[in-house]
Symmetry: C2
């Protein structure tokens, strides 16, 4: 069993520093584990004894009779080495340290001391200065951040708070995650080991990664290569600019490396680079649910000219192609309104019926020609796009190629989006974002 | 009075083709005017007489006794020339044609005929193949699209449906508009005249423009130059790629021009180019509410390292500077937590109190050094960022420099955003978007 597995699938968790005071990190962390319905044993560790949040609490891990698989530490930095020692004596092998105040704050000696202590006992460490870990497939939320929804995207974040903000934001956008690991100062476990673990995790279909620097370049390249052969990895790199790199040093105390070096590594390892966190999850949603785009030919289907034009521009910019349909396909599109344009984009015009969404997409894929489709619906202001979504979703059942959707009208289309996403068709709020998702699908390099 | 003024400030409006059937364009258009609480006279024109939506209807504009300032036409294309003739006889000077089926559908002759008829009567025309116009400052919603909220951003769209999708989307994002003009095939009034009008409109603080092609390059350059001297103009250009340009031809039947030519025109006229519609409104919100960024020096303030790094990277990429504070300012930041980084970004760490948001920003602007600030808050999962927003909003009252905010945690911060925006501090969901907004503010070239 991978040692990461012991962190993410523990039978029991101790929260050291489980304060009774709401707003204290140890308290909120414990509350998250309880309210998240974790099914293993939970041990609050609080020197003032008694109980916390309805659970019996212990003054030390050494007072707990049963085995403890994972300890999450939220106590002041100076006493961390002593707590590690107690964890060692107790036989705990996996420790997450949420506490800050180590190398990122200039206290390198204290961090060295905790590492030394952990090595002595054979303890593996995530953190310090991280925001915890979560296994959404096991209802384990060992973090004080928002409890994200279960899904199939793995998320690794060097930055704790950014990770937390993203977890909150995934809930709002209904994006589901499999595992979350924030590793902060990375005194022991870092990006490479986590990447390797998620690459093997059957519940994770795509991996997202917020990275500031790497601990060991060669190790990272090897881990990334292995991972991208298994599943798509999408990364945002913080600290690309000189000014950004300087601020990385005082954040996670890692060396940021320069833009060129990093872009080179990403290219070499087939990691898909995202410009920002929204882009990263736009792309992750696409690659987690659909097969790769195997060629370059994309059909754009729309009921409105403008968005079709914008989609075409972006696809072209990203190196994809938007060729007109061959004659055989055009023949099959004879049911479209007279004013339609049968070039590409296929502009069905505002007269398009909802059925035409299904029929058109089926016709386009009736011959081996297109590799993917980008389908746009701008419903009238008194519509909601649901019938068009149903027609497309039902056509998708017969089609083996990736489709990105752009149901484009704010709240108007909010009921249509779940209809699409149930069939793995991800929806994007603008043509540009939908085009970028298809591009990411065309970058998938792994087998399968 | 500008002729555009007659379109946007009519005392009376006739809707020709005001069907009694919900879902018909003429019906929905009439309903929008009524439900939008337009205060002038409304005349439904419907050959089957009687009443529509509770208003007396007339079989022709000629049957209406009073004057009609504006007619909106939603009848089949072939009868448009005849309706124009009736409008002419009635003395109507402003006509919006929503109907499609003209040059964009290959019927150039029919479009020529309507233009000829309009010219004969001295009628000005917006459209055909457009989605109408709106004056939010006068509660006139002469379009079948979503009724947007009143505000100070003008929006010109060559594409009707894209315009409609954007109106729906502005509501969701709480973005307010002053005027909306969709001009479709632009048989008479086009982008240049509308731009000139909005440049003079005191209710419009920034102009957004979705453009596919221009009718007359020289006229556009002149209009754009005049407009950008008055207020910021931000544009998205559809049809930048060859494939996109082809689809423009069958959409609004205009010539798209190539990427290089258009980028040149934008540069020459000081139009700010946006890559997509989200970017366009991100930037428009910034420039509509705050003064220009007069130099290049930006202070980044954060309680979380990662987002600070991402903001710094993006600012740097956009050519802005992120210099460390001078000694005099550093001295004034002695109240910050020990672990804070006083370089730039100013990372107050997770220990930052809400008051520190105000105090830090005030200290940063206490000397003439920084030109703008980008302020980030990642609240804890059990927080909402409201107190931090209040502290920043109250500091802003004493500060004359632009500030962009990034309260970053999805629904967690939704109550904080109105607190910020009430003071003109626009909030962005990611550091990248906030950085881009400050960049747009640094591009403002107009006087004031």
């Amino acid at each position: 069993m991978s040692e990461m597995e012991e962190f993410l699938n523990p039978e029991s968790v101790a929260v050291v520093g489980a304060s009774r005071k709401p707003g204290k990190i140890g308290h909120e962390l414990l509350r998250n584990i309880i309210e998240g319905n974790y099914e293993g044993e939970i041990y609050p560790i609080n020197p003032s004894g008694d109980e916390v949040l309805g659970l019996e609490s212990y003054s030390s891990v050494l007072d707990v009779e049963n085995d403890i698989d994972l300890a999450v530490l939220a106590v002041p930095a100076p006493i961390i080495p002593k707590i590690i020692e107690e964890c060692g004596e107790k036989g705990i092998r996996s420790v997450v340290i949420v506490s800050a105040g180590f190398s990122e704050a200039g206290n390198k000696d204290l961090e060295d001391k905790l590492v030394e202590e952990a090595e002595k006992w054979g303890i593996r460490v995530i953190g310090p200065n991280c925001t915890g870990i979560a296994n959404y497939n096991k209802k384990l939320h060992a973090t004080m951040e928002t409890r994200a929804k279960e899904g199939n995207i793995g998320f690794i974040s060097q930055s704790g708070a950014l990770g937390g903000a993203i977890l909150a934001w995934t809930r709002e956008r209904n994006i589901g995650l499999s595992k979350f690991v924030s590793y902060g100062n990375a005194c022991d476990i870092a990006e490479s080991e986590t990447l390797e673990y998620l690459a093997e995790d059957p519940k994770t279909k795509a991996i997202t990664l917020y990275l500031e620097g790497v601990k060991d370049g060669e190790e990272f390249i090897n881990a990334a290569r292995k991972a991208t052969r298994k599943k798509p990895v999408i990364a945002v790199k913080g600290g690309l600019s000189e000014a950004g790199a300087k601020s990385v040093a005082s954040h996670t105390s890692s060396l940021a490396g320069n833009r060129k070096v990093f872009f080179g590594i990403m290219k070499q390892t087939d990691i898909i680079r995202a410009e920002g966190v929204e882009d990263m999850f736009d792309m992750a949603r696409a690659v987690a649910f659909q097969k790769p785009v195997r060629g370059k030919k994309v059909a754009v289907v729309t009921n409105s000219g403008g968005p079709g034009v914008l989609a075409t521009d972006k696809l072209d910019e990203l190196g994809l192609e938007i060729p007109s349909p061959p004659a055989g396909i055009i023949k099959k599109l004879d049911f479209l309104p007279d004013a339609s344009s049968l070039k590409n984009p296929i502009d069905m015009t505002a007269e398009a019926t909802s059925e035409m969404y299904g029929e058109t997409v089926e016709a386009l894929f009736s011959e081996e020609y297109y590799d993917a489709a980008l389908v746009i619906d701008v419903p009238v202001a008194w519509g909601n796009g649901v019938d068009e979504a149903k027609a497309l979703a039902s056509a998708k059942e017969k089609i083996d190629k990736p489709i990105a959707a752009c149901w484009m009208a704010g709240h108007l289309v909010e009921d249509a989006i779940p209809v699409l996403e149930e069939k793995g068709i991800q929806n994007y709020s603008t043509p540009k974002r939908a085009a970028q998702a298809l591009w990411a699908l065309s970058q998938k390099t792994h087998e399968e």
